[in-house]
């Protein structure tokens, strides 16, 4: 009986110690992790809006650049980022956070759309649980770069905005290379991006135009 009680007390103390240790490390780094995430999203918004950032841009410069060029608005319960030209007046494009189910877990990304909503400026994925080296390659630049200048039109019937084709066989302007070995991730991305883009064109953009 005494032994058993000792075990419980021992386990309790050791759990207390390690839980405190982990919490302390977490607390010490929380701010930094949060900053990393904000910075990452700002960087991605600037990238999909094609607002040039220097490789060596410091943290302050980046948030300054972001504050100068990007305005956040809420439309129909969605957050949308409006990017402005140097003059602060002319609209450069819209950045729309997109997301949907991937193969292993949710995928989050950002898509840049031209001011007249006729083509894609750029796209970037920043959160996913896809297999590194396979589905995880959606974050690689060759995959994202293909979306540049993709023509946009609202979906009518079963005509999607774009299709992913086996790597190396994409021909038409609405066809892009999928990722070899990551068929499930590719089709998941194709499905939710088409859906989100269509939603933007049919719902969000109309509201944005009304507001302007």
């Amino acid at each position: 009986m005494k032994k058993r009680a000792l075990s419980v007390i021992y386990m309790f103390l050791i759990t207390l110690f390690f839980a405190s240790l982990v919490s302390a490390v977490k607390l010490m780094n929380d701010k930094r992790i949060e900053r990393n995430q904000i910075q990452r999203i700002q960087q991605i918004i600037l990238r999909v809006l094609e607002i040039p950032t220097q490789e060596q841009t410091s943290e302050q410069e980046l948030s300054q650049l972001f504050a100068d060029h990007v305005k956040e608005i809420d439309v129909e319960e969605r957050t949308l980022y409006i990017g402005y030209e140097q003059d602060g007046q002319t609209i450069r494009g819209y950045a729309l956070p997109v997301g949907g189910p991937g193969f292993w877990g949710p995928i989050q990304g950002m898509i840049g759309i031209s001011p007249d909503a006729t083509r894609v400026l750029g796209i970037a994925f920043f959160k996913h649980n896809e297999t590194p080296g396979l589905g995880g390659r959606i974050t690689e630049s060759w995959f994202a770069d293909q979306f540049k200048d993709l023509p946009l039109h609202p979906i009518e019937g079963d005509q999607n905005i774009f299709y992913l084709k086996p790597e190396g066989t994409a021909q038409a302007s609405n066809e892009l290379d999928a990722i070899t070995g990551a068929t499930n991730t590719s089709s998941a991305v194709e499905a939710f991006l088409n859906r989100e883009l269509d939603f933007f064109l049919k719902e969000l953009w109309v509201s944005v135009e009304e507001k302007e």
Binding site: S7, I14, T15, G133
Partner: protein, 207 residues
């Protein structure tokens, strides 16, 4: 108390003689998972080296006080704590790599090498020897992973650490990126190892 040559022996046992991946066939899950890119492999190695060494050290320090019946719970708790610390550190200081590795860092905890070393060695041996044992084992694991990545990344992507090493026209072996490629590579390595150093009759792996 163990003297110096014995420590060298402990180290070399883990690194080569009883290599955890090639001889004990432990830690296979992560071996298959992260070795298609060298960068991911190196970060995984670093995480594992830290976790194994620190866990072995801690388990060894507590070995005289931990009640026998709850020792597994204690070991798991210790390992989990170190893994979470590694995960937080990578998120804070290497955010890009953290994105690339996704869930694998947190999954270091399921690497059998760590619990294996705590249970087989650290709970009977003094701290320094345990630390060295952990170092040897985790470096042995790292060595094999690097070797596999060295084969898989060039054949699968034509690159090494992101730099192109094979000519542009090279047809990439997609199978090398996927799990089967890792199985083949690892299988061939285990085979070669067995061929050149057949298992000795007496099980030398002790601790």
């Amino acid at each position: 108390m163990p003297n110096l040559p014995l420590k060298k022996e402990i180290f070399l046992t883990g690194l080569w003689k009883d290599n955890p991946v090639l001889r004990q066939i432990l830690g296979i899950c992560s071996t298959l998972a992260v070795t298609n890119l060298m960068v991911n492999t190196l970060v995984m190695d670093a995480g594992l080296i830290f976790t194994v060494c620190m866990s072995s050290l801690t388990v060894s320090l507590l070995r005289k006080h931990t009640p026998m019946r709850i020792r597994m719970m204690v070991q798991t708790l210790i390992i989990a704590s170190y893994v979470i610390i590694v995960d937080i550190m990578i998120k804070a200081y290497l955010p890009d790599i953290s994105e690339a590795l996704g869930p694998y860092v947190a999954l270091i905890i399921t690497n059998c090498i760590i619990l294996g070393r705590c249970e087989a060695f650290a709970r009977h041996n003094p701290p320094v020897a345990s630390f060295i044992d952990g170092l040897g084992m985790s470096l042995g694991y790292s060595l094999v992973l690097i070797a596999i990545a060295f084969i898989r990344e060039p054949l699968g992507f034509g690159t090494l650490l992101g730099f192109r090493v094979l000519p542009e026209g090279f047809v990439q072996w997609t199978v090398m990126i996927m799990a089967p490629g890792a199985f083949f590579t690892l299988g061939i390595m285990v085979w070669i190892m067995k061929y050149f150093r057949p298992q000795t009759k007496f099980g030398e792996e002790k601790g």
